[in-house]
Amino acid sequence: MPTIYKLLIVFAYICLLAGCQQEEYEPIAEKANVAATINIKDMSVSFIDIDKQEKMAQWTLEKPYTGGVIFPDGDTFLLYGKDIDTIDLFSLSKGTMIDHWDVGEGIVNGLLINKDELAFADENQDSIRFFDLSGSEHATVDTEANPYTMTLSEKEGLLYVLSFDHEELTKIDANKKERLEGFTINPYASGALLLEEQNELWVGGHGEGIDIEKNVHVYGTKTGELKTKISVPTMPVDFVQKDDWIYIVSHGSNTLYKVDKEGKVADSVTVTANPFNIELAGEELLVAGYDSSDIQFINEDTLTVDKRVKVGEGPFQIVLREK
C-alpha cells in the first residue's frame, strides 16, 4: 500500500477520534453570573443566568456526573462522578471538553482550596486526594470509610471530612496533608458548616436506618463534643451562611430554615421537592429540587420564592460562577 494511503487512513482515523471526543456544547457567555446544576437523572448540566434568573443553556453529557467545581479562572468547569474513572474538564466559553484526568472511580465530592488546589473525596480509596489545577495528584490522606462532605477552615488550615456511614469525622491539616485526631459524629452525616468564630461545626445528616435525622448536630471543633442539637426536621443536608444567618435545607420535609448563630430557628419555608443543595448568590438563595427538577430563587431576608426555573432532571448540585 502506498505511503500516501496509509497516511490518509491514519488522518481519517485521527479525525474520527477527534470527532468523537470533541463533542460541542452551547458556549456559556463569559460575563454572566452562572449557576450550573448537575442533573443526575438525565445526565445533564443546566446553566442559569443568576441575574436574569433564567436558563441559558443545557448540556446533555455522556457520563453520569454527580458534582463539579468551577476553577478560579471562571472558565474551566470540572466534573466528576462516583462511577466515572476520569475527572473531565470543560471550557464554559468554548463548550468543549478540554482535558481529562485519569483518577479511577470513586470520586464523590470536590472542593477548591486556596484557589490553587483541589481536594477530592474518594469513596473507593477512603481517602482525600489532593490535586493541583493541572491535574497532578500530590498528596493523599486516608480517612474513615466513605468520606463525603468536606469543609475547610481557611483560618486554621484544617479540612473537616465527614464519613458518610461511619460515625467519625476526619480532621486533616490542609497544609501538611496530615491526618489529625478526629471525633465521633452522628451517623449518615451529610452537609457541614464551620462557624470559625464560635469554633463550631454544624453537621447535618440523613439518619440511620428507619430513624430519620431531625437535627443539626453542633460540635465543638476543638473538643469534638456535641454542644447542642438544632431541630430542623427532617434530614438537614446542606447549609449556607450569610452574615449572621444560617440557612439550612432539610430534604426530608422540603423545608428551608433560617437559623441564627445560636441555633434558634427564625423562619422556615416549604421549598421545592427534595432539595439536596443550597447556594447563596448575592441576596438570593438557590435551592435545587431533585424531584421537581427545578431551582428556586428565594429571597434570603423574607424567604419568599422569587422565581422558579426548570432545569434538567434530578439537579443534585449547584455550582456557582460569580464575576
Binding site: 430519620i212 426530608g252 416549604t270 427534595n274 424531584d291 434530578g314
Partner: protein
C-alpha cells in the same frame, strides 16, 4: 405400544381420548389464566379505587395526624391492609446517597410516583415476608412526595379462591371425561363397524360368494365406501354371470355344428350314404357347418380383440357413400334371389375419418341381419348428414324384434327366438361386434323395431368438417 395401534378402532379411540384430554387441559389452563387475570385485575382496580378515595382526602402540605388517623381507622374496617408512609427514608428520598437501607419503594418507583402515577405490585415482598398484591398511591403536594398510601392483599387469599375454582374444575372435567370417553367409544365403534363388515364381505367375495351386501344407513365417507363396495360386488356378480352365460353360449353355439360335422362324417365313414347325390349333400353340410364354426371363432376372436384396450383402428378419410355402395354390390344377388326391393339414397358429400375395413364389417353385419330376417318387402338404405355428423339408416320390412328384447339384442349370443336354428348362418355376435366398432369410431348404434313390421338400424358417426 404396538398393541395400542394395531387397529383403526384403537387408533381412533386413542385420538379421540387424546383430543379430549388436551382440550380439557388446555381449557383448564386458559380459563385459569383468564380467571386469575380477571380476578387480579379486579382486585388491583378495587385496591386502586380504595387508594384514590383515601388519597382524595389529602390536601397539600405535610401529612396531618388527622389524615393518618383516618387511614388507620379505615385499615381496621377494610379487608385490605392499608397504611400510610411519609418517612422519606422509606420513600427513597435519599436515593442518590447509598443509605444501606431497603426502602419500601425504590428509586424508579419513586420517580413514577412523582409523576402522579400509582404503582402496582404483585409477587414476593421481603417486607411482608410473602407474596402480596399491592397498589401504591402517591400523596403529592405539587411535586413534593409527602407520602404514599400502601394498600395490599396477601396473594394467598387470592390463590385460595382459585384453589376452590380448581377443585370445581377438576370434578367437572372428570365427569366430562367419563361422558366423553363413553360417547367417544360408542362413536368409534359405530364408525368402524361398517369397516369390519366390509372386511368380512370382501373375504366372502374373494371366496367366490358374490351375493354379499353390506347393510348401511349412513351417508358419510364410510357409508359411501360401503355403497361402492356393494356396487362393486354386484358388478363382479353380473360379470361372473355374463362370463358363465358366454361360456355356455359359446359351447352351445359350437356344439350344433360339431354334432352336424360329427354325425354326417360318421355317416360317410360307416358307408351309410348310398348314392353320389347324398354323398355330395353330406359333404356340403359338413362344409357349411365347418364354415359356420370358422365364422363363429373368427367373430369371437374379433370381439375379444375389440375388447382389449390396445386395439387400434387404422383411420383415414373415407367417402362414406362410395364405401357403402361398394359393400352393397355383393348383396345384390342375394337380394334379387330373395325377391326383395332395395332402395338407397346416399349423400356423396360425406367424408368420415374411419378404418375402411372395419366400416365395411359394420355394414356387412347390419346388412346380414336385415337380409336374414326379411323374407319379403324391401330394404332401404340412407346416408345423410345430421347436426353432429352423419347417419347411416337401414330400414327393413322384416319380422321385427319384440319390445322386451330390444335392449338386449346387442348382447353377445342374444337371440330373440332361442329355439331358432342356426340354419340362417348367424353367429349371434354380429350386432355386438358392430356396436363395438361403431363405439370405437366414436359413434352410436341404435335399433328401433316394431314386431312384424320391420326394424330400423341407425349408425351415427362423426364426419370430417371441411
Amino acid at each position: 405400544m404396538k398393541f395400542l395401534t394395531d387397529t383403526l378402532a384403537k387408533k381412533l379411540w386413542l385420538t379421540v381420548t387424546a383430543a379430549i384430554f388436551i382440550t380439557i387441559l388446555y381449557s383448564y389452563a386458559l380459563s385459569y389464566l383468564f380467571y386469575e387475570k380477571l380476578y387480579v385485575e379486579n382486585v388491583e382496580e378495587s385496591l386502586l379505587e380504595e387508594g384514590l378515595a383515601l388519597a382524595s382526602d389529602y390536601h397539600d402540605g405535610p401529612l396531618t395526624d388527622e389524615f393518618k388517623g383516618h387511614v388507620a381507622w379505615y385499615n381496621t374496617k377494610s379487608e385490605t391492609d392499608v397504611f400510610i408512609v411519609n418517612n422519606p427514608r422509606e420513600l427513597s428520598a435519599c436515593f442518590p446517597f447509598q443509605m444501606n437501607y431497603d426502602s419500601l419503594i425504590n428509586g424508579a418507583e419513586r420517580d413514577e410516583l412523582l409523576k402522579g402515577n400509582p404503582i402496582f405490585k404483585s409477587g414476593y415482598e421481603d417486607r411482608f415476608n410473602g407474596r402480596i398484591m399491592a397498589v401504591i398511591v402517591p400523596l403529592l403536594d405539587e411535586s413534593r412526595l409527602e407520602g404514599i398510601i400502601y394498600l395490599y392483599l396477601p396473594l394467598e387469599k387470592i390463590s385460595d379462591i382459585t384453589k376452590d375454582f380448581a377443585y370445581l374444575w377438576m370434578i367437572a372435567a372428570f365427569l366430562f371425561l367419563i361422558v366423553a370417553m363413553i360417547s367417544g367409544t360408542a362413536l368409534v365403534k359405530k364408525m368402524t363397524s361398517p369397516l369390519l363388515e366390509m372386511k368380512r364381505a370382501a373375504e366372502q367375495v374373494s371366496k367366490g360368494d358374490y351375493e354379499v351386501s353390506i347393510k348401511n344407513q349412513s351417508q358419510d365417507e364410510i357409508g359411501q365406501l360401503a355403497n361402492a363396495f356393494n356396487t362393486m360386488a354386484d358388478s363382479i356378480r353380473q360379470e361372473d354371470e355374463r362370463k358363465r352365460e358366454f361360456l355356455a353360449n359359446v359351447s352351445h353355439e359350437l356344439r350344433t355344428p360339431i354334432s352336424y360335422v360329427k354325425g354326417y362324417s360318421e355317416a360317410l365313414k360307416i358307408g351309410l350314404v348310398k348314392n353320389e347325390e347324398d354323398y355330395q349333400k353330406y359333404l356340403e353340410l359338413i362344409y357349411r357347418e365347418a364354415g359356420r364354426m370358422e365364422r363363429l371363432v373368427g367373430d369371437l376372436l374379433d370381439l375379444s380383440k375389440l375388447e382389449t384396450e390396445e386395439y387400434q383402428l387404422v383411420k383415414m378419410p373415407i367417402p362414406l357413400a362410395q364405401l357403402i355402395e361398394d359393400s352393397l354390390q355383393k348383396y345384390l344377388p342375394r337380394i334379387k334371389e330373395k325377391g326383395l326391393e332395395l332402395e338407397y339414397d346416399l349423400d356423396p358429400e360425406i367424408i368420415i375419418n374411419a378404418d375402411e375395413g372395419r366400416l365395411e364389417q359394420i355394414i356387412q353385419n347390419i346388412m346380414d341381419n336385415a337380409l336374414r330376417y326379411t323374407e319379403s318387402g324391401s330394404l332401404s338404405l340412407h346416408l345423410y348428414e345430421t347436426e353432429e355428423g352423419c347417419c347411416i339408416e337401414l330400414v327393413d320390412s322384416g319380422i321385427g324384434i319384440p319390445a322386451e328384447d330390444l335392449d338386449k339384442i346387442k348382447q353377445r349370443f342374444y337371440r330373440v327366438n332361442k329355439a331358432r336354428t342356426r340354419a340362417d348362418g348367424g353367429t349371434g355376435l354380429g350386432l355386438a361386434i358392430a356396436e363395438k366398432l361403431v363405439n370405437l369410431h366414436e359413434g352410436e348404434l341404435t335399433i328401433e323395431s316394431t314386431l312384424g313390421k320391420g326394424t330400423t338400424v341407425r349408425i351415427y358417426l362423426p364426419i370430417i368438417i371441411e
